[in-house]
Amino acid sequence: MHFHLTEEQAAIQNAVRGTLADSWPIERIHAFADGDADFDRTSWDALMALGLGGMLAPGSGMGLLDAALVCEVAGEAAAAGPLIGQLLAVAAVDASGKSDVEALSSGAQVATLVHGGSDYAPSARAADLFLIVDRAKGVRLVPVADATIEPVKAADRTRPMSKLAIADGAGETLFAAADPMTARLADAALVLVAADALGGAQKVTDMSVAYAKEREQFGQPIGRFQALKHQLAHMALAVEPARALVWYAAYAWDAQLADAPRAAAMAKAHLCDTYVQTTRAAVTAHGGIGYTWEYGLNYWFRRAMADRAWLGSPAEHRARAADLAGW
């Protein structure tokens, strides 16, 4: 029985956290958010230099849980770049055996995830490859030459989306719809977005707690006031127990348990709701400073909205979970 992180897993998280603290500090987020780019080469290369790209390659010795732990830290840091798409593209291409994944694993080639039926993808203008995961149509890998990309003004400033037009049948089919890998990749994507949401929700809770300890009114830190203390306690209550939901979903996927698809749906629905609620609570817990652009809370707030909408809303996944339970 082991259901908490190993020292090695905690060390991986700390390495990623340190790398992003150096390569993606808040000043860089500010500059990026007001720029036109949808990709940041410096922080991407720093992450890829850690060897994260190939985590989901069969035979890497790691699994979705490890990948989720990395995506959690990326969510915490509001990292730029299509990390989830990259991880899944390596998994998909390697498992299909159709081509070499070296350039993808190293991060030299950039791949982004396109959710079946959606017209949007993050960091599309930087992508060399588009991994389309569609439960109804299978998994395809489409080269940039076969995609039409229309930049849009994106609400999520850390992972800007672009609008895409990709012809049906473009690129190469990696897995048919009926191939079990299609559903597994779709499920894995849900778990990784849930992990991003977990990291972000934890980050804004930590920011709110730190601010409540430092900000003084009526001659004392505002965190001493019970009204705010209880609000912060509820933010933590929403986030910390939900961490185990992400762990379980990732573990169930790795162990190929029967309830893995349902666990992924539950984790995506629950964590994305939690992220939205927690970022809203964080703004109110901060007061005026939280409503400013300069303070930066809004980057996580916007990312929470994007995570919620990406790959299907919480209600959609709860409806799937209800069906999967046989209710």
């Binding site: 029985m1 082991h2 259901f3 908490h4 849980l65 707690v209 409540a212 300890k213 004392q220 830190p221 965190g223 001493r224 019970q226 203390k229 209880h230 912060l232 306690a233 509820h234 933590a236 209550l237 910390e240 127990p241 939900a242 961490r243 185990a244 939901l245 762990w247 379980y248 573990y251 790795d254 162990a255 666990a263 539950m266 629905a269 629950h270 709701d273 209600a315 709860r318 409806a319 979970a321 209800a322 339970a325 209710w327």
Partner: protein, 403 residues
């Protein structure tokens, strides 16, 4: 991660199962006409095998086993599967015995632990008073030494005592040093409730429940207890009581119970024909997200305990999480029972055989979920604990005298 318990635990599980298949239900030749006697015999056998009372020394009636949370879990699972009696429950096992083991004198351990373990002594908690709830250290029930210095003489009132009508004894907080600062003037006493100076009265609950199983208030009018039954130093009772509350917190929870209750809620939705309603399905799945977060977090806490690691603030959150989920379930149940909510369920709030009950039986859960938000540390106190101990926020000035 790995949710299996491992080969050693599975071998142990086989042993426990073999034991249970022989002894529970009791074989015909060992069956007593008196169920209580059968249970007592079974518990003694199970203790002899090291399955029950594992934290209690043998000399006091326990089985004195090394700490092994996996084995303990396997025992709970197998006993539950066989519907075999576990340890006696209640305040005695959860609070009195751990406190005595940590802070009691040898004489007190000799006098009380075995009787409690064997179910002969039933303990009521004498903490809250009408004027002292969350501000427990303000207790006013007075203890004065008898002129010869051998007895404490107690006057005052205690309230919210669960199992109070059955209790044979009470552990209580009594103000013995009226001039000391509030936390330093309290002494922790054990008292025999069968004496003329003690009057008890059941308090009827909002569920309608009354009589033997509800909580009680107690009046003390020159009640007496020997000085030798004082636990810890005179004036240090507040700090002695901190041991017990910690034990109580650890004993509330129960992911399996919550999971079963959620399954019943799904059954209710089917029974009343609402399971295909998309709004009901969404709400059920939403609640289940929290139910599973609670379940997997209890795995996490369990796993940390097995590895001797600190799970961190999540352990402080489990009671409030359980309570909050209970509220959500109550609200959905109320939606689902519809006009069945016009009916008072048979034997509302009570236990045992209550006769036929329809969907209106959810009134017990609907009201009971509120009880959960009060008993064993009220929800607002839990929020303080999460905020202060979990998040490191500064203490409320009014409470900063507490340690």
């Amino acid at each position: 991660m790995d949710l299996s318990y491992g080969a050693a635990a599975e071998a142990f599980r086989a042993e426990v199962r073999a034991f249970l298949s022989l002894h529970w239900p009791p074989p015909a030749d060992a069956r007593s006409a008196d169920l209580k006697a059968s249970i007592r015999t079974f518990r003694a056998l199970a203790t002899g095998e090291g399955y029950l009372y594992r934290a209690i020394p043998k000399r006091y009636g326990g089985s004195e086993q090394p700490v092994d949370v996996i084995k303990a879990q396997v025992i709970r699972e197998e006993f539950a599967r066989a519907r075999a009696p576990m340890e006696v429950g209640g305040n005695g096992m959860n609070m009195t015995v751990p406190t005595l083991l940590e802070k009691g004198t040898d004489e007190q351990k000799e006098l009380f632990i075995r009787g409690t373990v064997e179910g002969d002594y039933i303990w009521g908690q004498g903490y809250s008073e009408p004027g002292s709830g969350s501000d427990l250290a303000s207790v006013r029930t007075k203890g004065e030494l008898s002129p010869d210095g051998t007895k404490w003489v107690i006057n005052g009132q205690k309230i919210w005592t669960s199992q109070g009508m059955q209790s044979t004894h009470m552990f209580m907080l009594v103000r013995t040093e009226p001039d000391a600062p509030k936390h330093d003037g309290i002494t922790y006493l054990l008292i025999d409730l069968d004496q003329p100076g003690v009057t008890r009265r059941p308090i009827r609950q909002m569920t309608g429940e009354e009589g033997d199983h509800t909580f009680c208030e107690f009046f003390f009018d020159n009640a007496e207890t020997p000085v030798a039954w004082q636990v810890g130093e005179r004036g240090q009772g507040w700090y002695v009581s901190r041991t017990t509350l910690k034990h109580e917190r650890a004993s509330i929870g129960g992911a399996d119970g919550l999971g079963k209750q959620f399954a019943k809620l799904v059954d209710l939705a089917k029974e009343v024909g609402r399971i295909d309603d998309p709004i009901v399905r969404d709400k059920l799945a939403q609640i289940e997200g929290s139910v599973l977060a609670h379940r997997y977090s209890s795995y996490r806490i369990f796993s940390c305990a097995a590895a001797g690691e600190d799970p961190g603030p999540v352990a402080l959150m489990m009671k409030l999480l359980l309570t909050e989920i209970g509220h959500e379930m109550a609200l959905l149940a109320q939606e689902l029972i519809g006009e069945h909510g016009f009916l008072e369920p048979a034997g509302a709030g009570g236990r045992g055989n209550r006769g036929p009950r329809g969907p209106e039986k959810w009134l017990d859960q609907i009201m009971g979920s509120l009880g959960n938000s009060i008993a064993g540390g009220a929800s607002n106190i839990q929020r303080n604990i999460i905020g202060e101990r979990g998040l490191g926020l500064p203490r409320d000035l009014a409470m900063s005298g507490e340690r």
